[in-house]
Amino acid sequence: MSQIVTMPQLGETVTEGTILRWLVKVGDEVKEDDPILEISTDKVDTEVPSPFNGTVSNLLVEEGETVEVGASLLELDGDKTNTNDTPLKEEPKEETNEENVQDTSPKVAEVQNHNISKTPNEKQNLKLSPVVRKLASEHNIDIEKVQGTGKDGRIKRQDIEKIISSGQGMISTEKIAEQPPQEKEKEMLTKESSNNISRLRKRIAENMIISKQTSAHVMTSIEVDFENIEIVRAKHKAKFKEENGFSLTYLPFISLATVSALREYPVVNSSFDLENGLHEIHNHINLGIAVDLNQQGLLVGTLQEADSFNLKGIARKISETSKLLRDGKYGLDDVSGSTFTISNNGSFNSFLTSPIINQPNVAILSTESVKKRPVVVQAQDGSDSIAIRHTGILSITWDHRVFDGSVALLFLNFIKERLENADWSQELD
């Protein structure tokens, strides 16, 4: 009896994956759960375990090939005795007994689907009529470079024809041949080095562009006084490091304040699908933390159910997740499902950053460096004086399609208020 192993769906938004490496060859015996190949999706690189016992009779895709979820990958001959018919990934049913559910967020709205009306010019530019598609492909025209003059900027047949008759915008191979030899060589050289884009880089690049094309990015920032936190931090720093093996940074404080703010402003913790007219307010908070992979790329680690952590817990989780990501030992859960993201630019000494939203989130918070700065403080008697205090900027890039500036600033101010006034020492004592 032969069995087919298919491309798994590793994450809700994943539609395809690339076969990195076969770990088996035709004739190999494999047991259920033995790793059989490595695949790469836009979420994760991972090994695929065999769902069955059997002998490999056919490899149906080549290394390097990208195939859709559900595509046949490999054929196994053999018995089905050990296979369990329940899906491997199925999680134990959640307890629905209300008393057992720790409801930490009474205000969090349930998943809501709001119908939103489409604005006419949204994405209109990307809708190409049949004749425009045909002419563009026949004449090798880069459609991105075409200025549409139709309704709402639509690219009309005439727009393409103008380009055809002018000769611009074409990806012409003849042109290269006409160039002087050195020029050509130079081009070849640059081409060679630019061809080596890593898969990770490519994924980042694609995601960044898609995000820019999808959301209406606006950046807003606010100044925060970290003095209180600094005092608590200074007091517990040494002991914390000793007990936990990693330093207590500002990030856990900001993360915790952010989680509270997300609970207060659920619209910031949402996804927005204009095309299908759906706005989904998430009822769980999965906090994404951007992790720099030693300048070799960037991944967003996910703290699933981040609202269940206290300060120490979140600090540990951040530290662990970052390490998993840097070591390349993470699983799918560690990198998927974030509902809001923090980019910790302060750790690289930033002053102000305008990050790109991590889709399908609707906002991203950037922490900036905390430094001693002179500030005007008011004494109890009302007199002003200049004091040296730890301050830093928090900036947020948000999607203006989904909400407006007021929400963004209320959200930021909520975080600021928390950071400045919460009784943080209680969390650490």
Partner: protein, 668 residues
């Protein structure tokens, strides 16, 4: 069993021994053939149906025996016996039952639903009694040409309840046509007895209502059937007009092979079995000393073998090839296109061009004639036949009764008999009662019986004259949906005459749609050539060149399209207007090549939008011109409602220049 005797008295008394043997043989053939077919049907050897006329053999053979060889018979599903006596062979019948390629209906219809026109039997169709008006039309042609042919319109007593039968017999009576209406009253219409079909005691009682003579006869007495039939046919042939014969008879079996006829009570059955037509005929032949029982038995053996052989042979014959289905929808034109140097012209409006065309067509060919309500002395509701009655007289410009189904069906019969009839519908809204004849008979004749039907149905269409919901239809999609008919809709005087001439010369049924708003539209006057000329059916025309948008339209909407194009040209939008002129066959080429140029398509029509010509054109372009499109295809049409009377409502209904302009501006 005591059998009632029959004796020869009238015409039958003059028949020779051989003639009587032929008649007997035909009756026996029918009985044995239908008996075998029933057995095969019940044994699962035959698909379709068998409608046995066993028990009615004397009526069947007698009707045919009373007719002349060139007389035409229009009958129903029950009439295999008549067809056999008219000369249709066992092999032809067998081929039809097996749906074979060489059968009379080429596999397109089965069992007894066929005719062999060359042997004098009209195509049998299911809707009852649809060949009656066709027979009437054949008689009309005979009357016009003096050919002496008599038409027989036969059906069962149940079918006489239809409007079709009424219109046929009424028309024949009014026009004094050489038709004999025979009704085989076999006591049942499927399961229904006479009482449920008509209110008079007899079918024949109704002849008074048509002003024609009638007789009720014993349909199981072969001699009486022959005598009365012969007399009626000769009387009609002599110009004495139609008559009605009710042949009282009985079918031994159910309506069809599947029907056990439990609704027939035993007394009735016994009564009729004593009057079995074949037994009575045999008795009399023996009594007269003409033939012996041994001869009957031996004939039966021979016929049995012949029948089996024909059926076995037919099974092995070629099946039809689905490939030919589309090709066989229309007859090819064999006459050359009429040429005209068009040097001699006269300024005409739209209706003058039509009248002029009708006149020249009738003058040119005496087979062309017209039928319609009030078209003769009164010269038509819109005066389209002005001067024609005076010029061509009542036999070629025929005022008909209000019988759209009747005279449209008659046109089919006349066309089959070699005429070129032009039917005028007073308003095209009244095409509905004629649709049965158009789609059942006209549209299917060539496809099913291989006989072309050159006829034209013309009349005013369209709204805009405050004529309300029943005088304003745009019937193009209604008509075009039926395969086998052509539909043309001219928009100006030149095309009106040219398309009319082409329509009359086309060997197929052509629906010629005139737009009443155009009839006397003053700015539509133009130079129209004198003498016959043709505008090719199936060819559209670019009536205004343009580069940005293709606007496809026809008939009354062409002037609207032109005006809209003019308005838009002032805003630098260049519209190409195409008048398709013919709806079926559609000139796809002219539309597709224009869309290739403009990449934008709008279809403008006065007909309502759902399931319409606009939808069809849109589908054609989406299928075949998709890659040339730069915008979704637009339709400008009335709403999907009926056509209202109140001026404000009607004006809102009909697409206006403003609406077209607004719609086309969307295509940017």
């Amino acid at each position: 069993m005591q059998i009632e005797k029959i004796t020869r008295k009238g015409y039958s008394a003059s028949l020779s021994k051989d003639q009587l043997w032929e008649i007997y043989k035909s009756m026996k053939t029918q009985r044995l053939l239908e008996d075998r077919l029933l057995k095969m049907y019940k044994g699962g050897q035959l698909s379709g149906a068998v409608y046995p006329g066993i028990g009615q053999e004397a009526s069947m053979a007698g009707i045919a025996a009373g007719m002349n060889e060139k007389d035409i018979f229009g009958g129903t599903h029950r009439d295999l016996g008549v067809q056999i006596k008219k000369g249709v062979t066992l092999k032809e019948i067998a081929l039809n039952f097996f749906g074979k390629h060489d059968g009379p209906s080429k596999g397109r219809d089965g069992n007894s639903h066929f005719g062999v026109v060359d042997k004098g039997t009209l195509m049998v169709v299911s809707p009852l009694p649809d060949s009656a008006p066709v027979a009437v039309g054949w008689a009309l042609a005979s009357q016009q040409s003096g050919s002496g042919v008599v038409a027989v319109a036969n059906c069962g007593e149940g079918a006489t309840a239809t409007g079709t039968w009424h219109e046929s017999i009424n028309m024949a009576g009014v026009l004094n046509l050489p038709v004999v209406f025979t009704v085989q009253n076999n006591q049942f219409a499927y399961s229904s007895p006479n009482e449920t079909e008509f209110g008079t005691p007899n079918v024949a009682d109704r002849a008074a209502g048509y002003g024609i003579p009638a007789k009720i006869i014993d349909g199981n007495d072969i001699y009486e059937v022959i005598d009365v039939m012969h007399e009626a046919c000769e009387s009609a042939r002599e110009g004495n007009g139609p008559s009605l014969i009710e042949l009282v008879t009985f079918r031994h079996y159910g309506h069809a092979g599947h029907d056990p006829a439990e609704y027939v009570n035993e007394e009735v059955r016994d009564f009729w079995m004593k009057r079995d037509p074949i037994a009575r005929f045999e008795d009399s032949l023996v009594e007269e000393g003409l033939f012996s029982t041994e001869q009957f038995v031996s004939l039966a053996e021979d016929l049995e073998a012949e029948i089996r052989e024909a059926l076995e042979w037919a099974k092995t014959q070629d099946d039809p090839d689905p490939i030919n289905e589309v090709e066989d929808m229309f007859a090819d034109r064999t006459t050359p296109t009429i040429s005209n140097d068009e040097s001699d012209t006269k300024t005409m409006n739209y209706i003058e061009a039509i009248t002029n065309g009708l006149d020249e067509l009738m003058e040119n060919d005496e087979n062309v004639f017209m039928m319609g309500e009030d078209i003769g002395v009164f010269e038509g509701a819109f005066k389209a036949t002005k001067g024609l009655f005076n010029k061509y007289g009542p036999f070629r410009v025929i005022d008909t009764s209000i019988s759209e189904g009747g005279f449209t069906g008659a046109a089919v019969g006349a066309a089959l008999a070699g005429k070129k009839p032009i039917v005028e519908l007073q308003f095209y809204d009244f095409v509905y009662p004629a649709l049965d004849q158009i789609t059942t008979e006209a549209a299917k004749y060539y496809w099913k019986a291989g006989k072309s039907v050159p006829m034209v149905v013309r009349g005013p269409t369209g709204a805009g004259t405050r004529s309300g919901p029943f005088h304003s239809i745009s019937p193009e999609s209604l008509l075009a949906h039926h395969p086998g008919i052509r539909v043309v809709a001219p928009s100006n005087p030149y095309d009106a005459k040219g398309l009319l001439v082409a329509a009359v010369n086309d060997p197929n049924p052509v629906m010629y749609l005139e737009h009443k708003k155009l009839y006397r539209k003053p700015d539509l006057k133009m130079e129209v050539p004198l003498g016959l000329y043709e505008v090719e059916i199936g060819k559209g025309k670019v009536v205004r060149q343009g580069t940005d948008i293709t606007l496809v339209t026809w008939s009354g909407m062409v002037p609207v399209a032109n005006e809209a194009a003019e308005v838009l040209s002032k805003e630098n939008i260049s519209v190409e207007v195409i008048d398709i002129r013919t709806i079926v066959p559609l000139d796809e080429e002219i539309i597709l090549s224009s869309v290739e140029k403009t990449s934008n398509l709008c279809i403008l029509q006065e007909d309502v939008p759902f399931s319409s010509i606009a939808s069809e054109i849109s589908s054609v372009v989406a299928e075949k011109g998709f890659w040339n499109l730069d915008n979704p295809i637009l339709k400008v049409t009335p709403p999907n409602t009926h056509i209202p009377f109140a001026p404000v409502l009607e004006d809102a209904f009909i697409p206006s220049v403003e609406k077209v302009v607004k719609a086309l501006k969307e295509l940017q």
